[in-house]
Amino acid sequence: MATVIPRIDVGDNYKEKYGFFDPEKFVFKAKRGLNPEVVKEISWMKNEPEWMTKFRLRALQTWDKKEMPTWGADLSTIDFQNIYYYLKSTEKQGKTWEDVPADIKNTFDRLGVPQAERKFLAGVAAQYESEVVYHSLHKELEAKGVIFTDTDSALRDYPDLFKQYFGTIIPPGDNKMAALNSAVWSGGSFIYVPKGVKVEIPLQAYFRINAENMGQFERTLIICDEDSFVHYIEGCTAPIYTTDSLHSAVVEIIVKRGARCRYTTVQNWSTNVYNLVTKRAVAYGDATMEWVDGNLGSQITMKYPSIYLMEPGAKGDVLSVAFAGKGQHQDAGGKAVHVAPNTSSNIVSKSISKNGGRTSYRGLVKVYPGAKNSKSFVRCDALLLDDQSRSDTYPTTEVDEPQVRIGHEATVSKVSDEQLFYLQSRGITKAEAETMIVNGFIEPFTKELPIEYAVELNRLIQLEMIGSVG
């Protein structure tokens, strides 16, 4: 695929396209801070069953007891008592585009959501603040029994299915941020693909956060039944704010025998967002799980999409890209846990640091005894654009089975004077040349994206690059 570098206006155009925000308009606004009353209120507002209220409260207790992780990025400045944990911007969800309130529509128009939908999307669940306000699913998919809805609706409309899987892959006790999400979660996508159903067009949620000091705690649950296929895409752009914002999602995925699931994320949080996400999938016999994860923006990102390979023949791929500019720390990577024999995993991580930005690769490959003939390959490539920027690699390998093939490769490179001179000597400006080199570096990632996303990513990279030149 030829990667065309799109050229667009920078500067105020960036703010207009990605940094705008509409006046806040809320039906309900919770108080700042976190305590059992707030959690109960959230559950009450959502009219949830009692088991969920109890689940949330137990999770809050777990959160209280858990220590903040100190092994990664610096999270000491997060003030949990200065955050809104729930906002609901419209009374109820719009079922069609016409039902969506005008100011919210306006926001989506600028993001290009309806257009994207018209073009090729099967369904759209766009999260505006804490509640999903717009959602649609083509009749064809409905007829096949595919469920694609927001997680709150799923709890109400598919209670048994929901309860069977919710919190089973990432229990609240998994880590402090998972506990927090379990206590205050809101929104997110719920997908169920029945046996043998292949969803040929990607399902997409396009969401953004739009309120100052507002936490975004969406919860996504995807179940791919045997021999099914789905590609879920989530893309984010976030407005620019002056005070800290927290995004802490939990994504749980179950890929049953012979099924395949691909989960693509390209996100560009504003540079004050703490993005602390727990993503985990389990893959059963001959199933395939693929995480495609692009991280731009945010102040700090900590995210390590994981795959548990539970039965023979299971396969997992993690392909990630991180871009860290000034004042940013992208601590990202992947985990592959081989529980059964003949399983394979592949983790490819690409990171770019510029203007003093810092990227870290943090990964785990674990092979349990008896997981014979497992194969795992990890590759991390870092590109540094200047001498102030930093990149580290923290790979962990725990192998308790002798009969395996494990590989690890890491490279660190710089944009060379020779590359720049070569491109410049062809009439390309230095800034464009740098952008080209960076886009080329992440091309193995970009080529896995649907074309619209590839273009968007290249555009975002260009903005990051040009925005910080001079």
Binding site: V4, F421, R426
Partner: protein
Amino acid sequence: MADFEIKDLRVSVEGREILKGVTLSVNKGEVHAVMGPNGSGKSTLSHTLMGHPNYKVISGQVLFKGKDILTLQPEARAKLGMFLALQYPVVVPGITMSNFLRTAINAKRGYDGKDKSKAINVKEFRAMLKDEMSVLRMDDSFLSRYVNEGFSGGEKKRAEILQMAVLKPEIAILDETDSGLDIDSIKFVSDAVNRMRGPELGVLIITHYTRVLKFIKPDYVHVLVNGEFVRSGGPELADWLEAKGYSEWVKEPAKAPAALEAN
């Protein structure tokens, strides 16, 4: 005044003076060969003319289209109509030749992402490439490969000449374009360059050996030794060098060693 004038150019690299006052006039329509032994300053000359940041100009001027280009960035020189075919073309991973060529053509046309009428359209682009690529014996698969990645020596040099062909410079500097080439590649590359020769193009061929000059006949030959031109003449000077080598100045042959011819 000539179309392209190098006036008393002195250049240092890492604090050491390499070019010690080079003067040369090139008119469009002419082909000049700059020959010299290893370390004479040939690559310094080519890189300085194109504006590589590691080469520091001590003094002198290079005049092209009424400007002293020495203060210009490489991209500005390219846009003015200069081109350098590198001795060692650089790998740019993840960028296809097709993307690279189109970006370069658009840059030259002044396309800044706004005025789409300035950008080359797909049809025009394909047509332009098809012709040139057939002369250079390159097939279509080449366009989807990443810039110079995994290219053989011959493919790299052909790719350089393809870039020259589509960018249509007025002054082209070919830096050791014949080095590392088998005899077929030399012929294809030379054919492509000869096709471009004409009243709108001035060429500066920088070479150690006389071999390539059998295929691209120069109008003038200049001998660079130790950072200075020691002799200039017509094509017969190349023949003279073929026989005598640079022995008058240093102990080194001008003729390609047999091993290189055979490879």
